[in-house]
């Protein structure tokens, strides 16, 4: 096509809207992160303080005690990494199972896909009240019929419960993508595997798994991007508690700005959240790419 530069006229409106709603606010957040600005203290004028907010977050004022940021960071990593591992392992196994030609398998696929489309607030509230509740939920009732006293899982094991719920919600997405990969494997390949006498383990893990590496990569990358952002589920199930034991970085940003009204510190936390996300995506992308070229 030798037409002149009509590219911009198609692209520019979208760029402007996206930039105004995402890039400009992000630059503002960067600026906020260098200010001393507390909404609850109108008596203190807004002042440029350089990197002080970052230093305040990262420093160890009373040394043996670890500042909140590090525990929150650690919890975010644990939550995201565990959910991703669970989603990948069980998502793959389930996809292999659903790849069988069996009457009604489409119904099963559809049912398993369901939780992915359920809004996080409903996921949290439903599990919390109808299942994990110690007196009214299924867990409480079943525990009592089996003869032991149910403990409140959400306050004793907040992180494992949230990991479980994240996985419940996101595994369907992994199945969706991995299954698409498995079904893209040509039939003559599976036929020749059968003729060559490969057993189930060999054909699944040594032939099929490498073949769908690309799909696995997509699932893990997108899963990472979306799970790191997750906020609603934590708010409605544990509200970050007990104490700060189920805080994640997004949750801490939210608490810092809307509870502590500390705009400067919240800005710095938000910037570090972005940095951590990008770093994680980068590391993951590289490690997976390296693995891929090895084949």
């Amino acid at each position: 096509m030798k037409s002149n530069t009509h590219g911009w006229s198609f692209v520019l409106p979208a760029i402007i809207v996206v930039a105004v709603m995402t890039q400009v606010p992000f630059v503002m957040t960067l600026i906020y992160s260098t200010l001393r600005w507390n909404l609850a203290r109108p008596d203190l004028p807004i002042k440029f303080v350089g990197l002080q907010n970052y230093i305040r977050i990262l420093s160890f004022p009373n040394f043996p005690q670890v500042p909140e940021f590090y525990s929150t960071l650690w919890q975010t990593i644990i939550l995201t990494a565990s959910s991703l591992v669970l989603c990948t392992v069980f998502g793959f196994l389930l996809s292999v199972l659903l790849d069988n030609r069996i009457p009604g398998v489409n119904v099963a696929r559809t049912l398993i896909l369901g939780p992915f489309f359920v809004m996080s607030t409903v996921t949290g509230v439903i599990w919390k009240t109808t299942i994990f509740n110690t007196t009214f939920g299924w867990y409480g009732v079943i525990a009592k019929t089996l003869g032991f006293t149910p403990v409140d899982l959400l306050s004793y094991y907040p992180l494992p419960v949230i990991i479980f719920l994240f996985s419940w919600q996101w595994m369907p997405f992994f199945v969706l993508v991995i299954l698409a990969g498995l079904q893209g494997i040509p039939l003559d390949l599976t036929d020749s595997m059968r003729i060559d006498g490969t057993n189930w383990l060999q054909s699944t893990f040594q032939v099929k798994l490498p073949l769908i590496a690309n799909h696995l990569r997509i699932a893990v990358m997108l899963g990472l991007i979306f799970i790191v952002k997750e906020f609603a589920l934590i708010l409605v199930t544990t509200a970050g508690g007990p104490g700060t034991r189920s805080y994640t970085l997004p949750y801490e940003v939210y608490m810092t700005v809307f509870n502590a009204s500390d705009v400067g510190k919240a800005g710095a936390l938000a910037v570090m959240t972005v940095a951590v996300t990008l770093l994680a995506v980068n590391i993951l992308y590289r490690s997976i790419n390296k693995r891929r070229t090895a084949y």
């Binding site: 096509m1 530069t5 590219g7 911009w8 006229s9 198609f10 692209v11 409106p13 979208a14 760029i15 809207v17 996206v18 709603m21 995402t22 606010p25 992000f26 957040t29 906020y32 069996i102 009604g104 398998v105 099963a108 696929r109 398993i112 896909l113 369901g114 939780p115 489309f117 809004m119 607030t121 409903v122 509230v125 439903i126 599990w127 009240t129 109808t130 299942i131 007196t135 009214f136 299924w138 009732v141 419940w168 969706l176 993508v177 690309n214 799909h215 997509i218 952002k229 906020f231 609603a232 708010l235 409605v236 199930t237 509200a239 939210y254 700005v257 809307f258 938000a270 972005v274 996300t277």
Partner: protein
């Protein structure tokens, strides 16, 4: 006197073994699927209970529509529902109206410098990585300053800005599948760039547009963080309404279930309708991106 089995016997025993294998596998798969889906299923069921029936978990009961009547008779429920529908319909519309031309322009448009379209595409992708917390503080202060919480326009703008990149990313690969020759032929026949988009490209990628639109619709319908922080009572959407139930420990289970069902059903149905196209859009978009 041992007799070696005939061909028919061997075939029969193999068929029998195959039958049992398939049945066993099928049972395992059905069981997993039902257990996996059971929290949602139980939620659907509990919506048809009375509050009294819902106190203790049980599966068998006389269904009633009373709870649904009560939930739908609540004017505030309608307000949240209306706000949600408004955001989804307008949000999806504007995302497509801006995102489809953008994706088209990135694939077929010409820029002065070579590689500009590649750069813009990567820029769109990186905005998908940006977590909403990175922008919430300035957005919140702007919304306060311009009183945008009181109108649906503010949240709508945020949704459009946040979801256009997903449309661009998904449709990019669909447009790339359109042969360049088709567009060139259209151009030689005197078709303007705008008509190339509307008359030729859009009809060719309509499955992609459908799936991108449905995905964005589901995302907007379920979105919580922005809605929670950037709306007032008058403009809040269903996810915000549902989050209020988190404090009522085990109370009003039937009402909770009925409301949840209303909040969840549209997204699940839309999602199920779009699953095939979704796979294509997601995997193609990512393999090439």
């Amino acid at each position: 006197m041992t007799q070696s089995p005939t061909i028919q016997q061997v075939q029969r025993s193999m068929a029998v073994r195959q039958f049992f294998r398939t049945t066993g596998l099928a049972l395992v798969i059905y069981l997993i699927a039902i257990v996996y889906f059971s929290p949602i299923l139980y939620m659907f069921l509990s919506g048809f209970k009375t509050e009294f029936q819902a106190v203790s978990p049980r599966l068998f009961f006389v269904p009633t529509l009373k709870t649904f009547q009560k939930v739908l008779g609540d004017p505030s429920m309608w307000r949240y529902l209306r706000n949600s529908i408004l955001q989804v319909v307008l949000g999806t519309f504007f995302c497509l109206a801006l995102g489809v031309p953008a994706a088209f322009g990135l694939v077929f448009g010409k820029f002065k410098k070579r590689g500009t379209n590649e750069k813009i595409f990567v820029w769109f992708i990186t905005t998908i990585l940006l977590p909403p917390v990175a922008v919430i503080i300035p957005l919140y202060t702007w919304f306060q300053a311009f009183n945008l919480q009181k109108t649906p326009i503010g949240l709508l703008l945020a949704y459009v800005g946040f979801h256009i990149p997903i449309v661009v990313w998904m449709l990019h690969s669909f447009f790339e599948d359109v042969p360049v020759e088709v567009m060139e032929a259209a151009q030689i026949d005197g078709c303007s760039p705008f008509h190339q988009l509307v008359r030729i490209a859009v009809p060719l990628v309509r499955t992609g547009i459908m799936s991108a639109g449905l995905l964005v619709a589901v995302f907007i319908w379920n979105e919580f963080f922005l809605a929670f922080n950037l709306t007032s009572i008058a403009t809040a959407t269903l996810p915000v309404y549902m989050s209020r139930f988190s404090e009522q420990q085990g109370m009003f289970v039937a009402q909770l279930s009925a409301s949840s069902t209303i909040a969840v059903l549209p997204a699940i149905i839309l999602g199920w309708m779009t699953q095939k196209a979704l796979v294509k859009g997601l995997t193609l978009g990512a393999v090439k991106g």
